[in-house]
């Protein structure tokens, strides 16, 4: 082989996916189906991810072998279910590098996690004249809970601005911080733009003013390695169903010191130590924030999902997805009439775009006929749409089980849309 040939080979070798995508895809039974007679191309992973067989097995195992209530039974089934549930908590703790299991609160999802913090921590610490900072690219679930809190507490909600690429303006942010800043709530990865925000730096700046920092990790934990202690955030929230686990379960991480000082969010069973009609003593962490019977099977299956992700390796996942996003960005942006919305230098998974003169909803319907599932609309981020002066975008969001062939199918689908509307 000549020199040029061997260079080419090396180059190719480097581009071989770090894991076998075809094999990975076989772990996800849903991906093998056809939609409108075409192979399913699932590119709506920012809305929800598909589940590997191990997650489905974990749900079925709970219902066929261990179904019982947790934290209270003396019988074997309850013991096993409780063990699985708590093993899952430990796995989450290790996964996000928290210091202790008691910092891991099971909730319904990211939305509930943020509401918990705004209602419990927020009500206690935010008063008239105080300020809560959120960013211009937040999902509605990281806007509305803070609006409610600010209205109630007569505090001010301030918005950290961004540039046309969809990157937060750190200088402006730094100037917004001050002695009245109580809370900074920011997304780790934007669901509508794909921007990865410098949350570690943002937390560091906020802490200079003793402000508390919540990071919305709903679009982050499945794509990049998260170390809550390294980020030094005070709270970190994510959803199970976006990391290949079931719906109805999510995680709120909080620093022990803060969680211990916070009043309960909901009252009920499991969150108490003792109850009389005169007085109730609350349970210790994390149970203080876990009133009522939780979504047991989802909590257990979330552990299975994280186990699956860890077995693949988040570093390998990140590398593969990064390369696939670059490939997709190139393939889509070279189509005439396409504009990519969200061109931050640091991005993960999300490719939002608009076609000139064609509404994203029409794009979505035509792509669906080609078997391609994408999201169209405002992605629960209407202020982002307003910023870019568009009513909506079409959004393809990638997972590690997506392939270059699927990106090619997406590009062909977009060309078909243009053909229909020509």
């Amino acid at each position: 082989m000549n020199a040029a040939g061997s260079t080419l080979t090396t180059h190719r070798d480097r581009r071989i996916p770090p894991f076998d995508v075809a094999r990975v895809r076989r772990d996800f039974p849903i991906l093998g189906q056809k939609v409108h007679g075409k192979p399913l191309v699932y590119l709506d992973n920012a809305a929800t991810t598909q589940k590997p067989q191990t997650v489905l097995d974990a749900i079925l195992r709970y219902y066929t072998q261990d179904c019982s209530n947790i934290h209270r039974g003396v019988h074997l089934l309850s013991e096993r279910a409780t063990q699985s549930y708590e093993d899952s908590r430990s796995r989450v703790k290790r996964f996000i590098h928290a210091a202790d299991e008691k910092e891991i609160i099971f909730v319904r999802g990211t939305t509930e996690a943020i509401n918990l913090v705004s209602q419990s921590y927020g009500r206690k610490h935010v008063g008239p004249g105080d300020e809560v900072l959120i960013s211009a690219m937040e999902h509605h679930s990281n806007i509305v809970p803070w609006q409610l809190l600010c209205q109630e507490s007569r505090a001010t909600l301030r918005i950290i601005p961004m540039n046309d690429r969809g990157e937060l303006l750190l200088d402006a942010y730094e100037k917004m911080l001050g002695p009245r800043t109580r809370i900074v709530a920011v997304t780790h990865v934007s669901n509508s733009l794909g921007t990865v925000n410098p949350v570690r730096r943002m937390a560091e700046l906020a802490h200079r003013w003793n402000a508390c920092v919540l990071v919305d990790g709903a679009q982050a934990v499945q794509h990049i390695m998260v170390d809550v202690r390294e980020l030094d955030c005070d709270f970190y929230a994510f959803s199970g169903h976006k990391i290949y686990g079931p719906t109805g379960v999510g995680i709120l991480y909080g620093k022990t010191k803060l969680l211990e000082a916070m009043p309960p969010y909901q009252g009920g069973g499991d969150m108490i130590s003792s109850v009389t009609f005169e007085r109730t003593t609350y349970n210790k962490l994390p149970h203080k924030f876990e009133a009522g019977t939780p979504n047991v099977e989802a909590g257990i299956a979330l552990g299975a999902a994280i186990e699956y992700v860890e077995a693949l390796g988040l570093d390998k996942i990140a590398d593969y997805e990064h390369e696939l996003l670059a490939y997709a960005t190139e393939a889509i942006s070279k189509i005439d009439g396409v504009r990519i919305v969200g061109t931050a230098r640091e991005k993960a998974s999300v490719l939002s775009f608009v076609l000139e003169g064609i509404h994203p909803h029409d794009v979505g319907t035509i792509l669906d006929q080609e078997g391609i599932a994408i999201r169209t609309g405002h992605h629960c981020a209407q202020p982002v749409m307003e910023f870019f002066k568009i009513p909506a975008t079409a959004r393809a969001s990638l997972a590690f089980y997506n392939t270059r062939q699927e990106i090619d199918a997406l590009a062909a689908g977009i060309r078909k849309v243009l053909e229909v509307f020509r």
Partner: protein, 150 residues
């Protein structure tokens, strides 16, 4: 492609590209706003009603091809109609796109609006086709709140 052409008929694409009556009516005496929170479609409807008859009608807003074409063709079909005729047409149109009148409807009686029959194969798009019509009804009833098709 043939399935898609049922939805995206030439008439619809034409009205999408060149919507008719796409203007604000300065002398409107009935107006309403409608939006579809799910996809961001937004329509403002302007109506001049005299002696119970639609004398003029216009709309503004942003939306997908189906909602824009539906608004455009709706305005074309309503001029000169009485309020009662407008309400009757609303019902017929609604049945047409939801497929309630699939077997026995007389598409000819719908005139050009019959092209929207293809929408019934796309349940999530029904609200796109009906947004302008719901907004129309709100305008007739002088509803203050914006209409949302959810």
């Amino acid at each position: 492609m043939s399935d898609l052409r049922e939805l995206y008929q030439q008439v619809i694409l034409d009205h999408h590209k060149r919507p008719r009556n796409h203007r604000k009516l300065e002398d409107a005496n009935r107006t309403a706003e409608g939006f579809n929170p799910l996809c961001g479609d937004h329509v403002y409807l302007y109506l001049r009603l005299e002696d119970g008859v639609v004398r003029d009608i216009g709309f503004e807003g942003t939306g997908c091809a189906i909602s824009t074409a539906s608004a455009s063709m709706m305005t074309e079909s309503l001029k000169g109609k009485t309020e009662a005729e407008v309400r009757a047409l609303f019902d017929k149109f609604h049945d047409l796109v939801t497929g309630k009148s699939a077997a026995d409807a007389d598409p000819a009686s719908m005139g050009k609006l019959a092209v929207f029959a293809g929408v019934r194969e796309y349940p999530v798009r029904v609200k796109c086709a009906t947004l302008a019509w719901h907004t129309l009804r709100a305008a007739l009833e002088q509803q203050k709140e914006a209409v949302a098709t959810e």
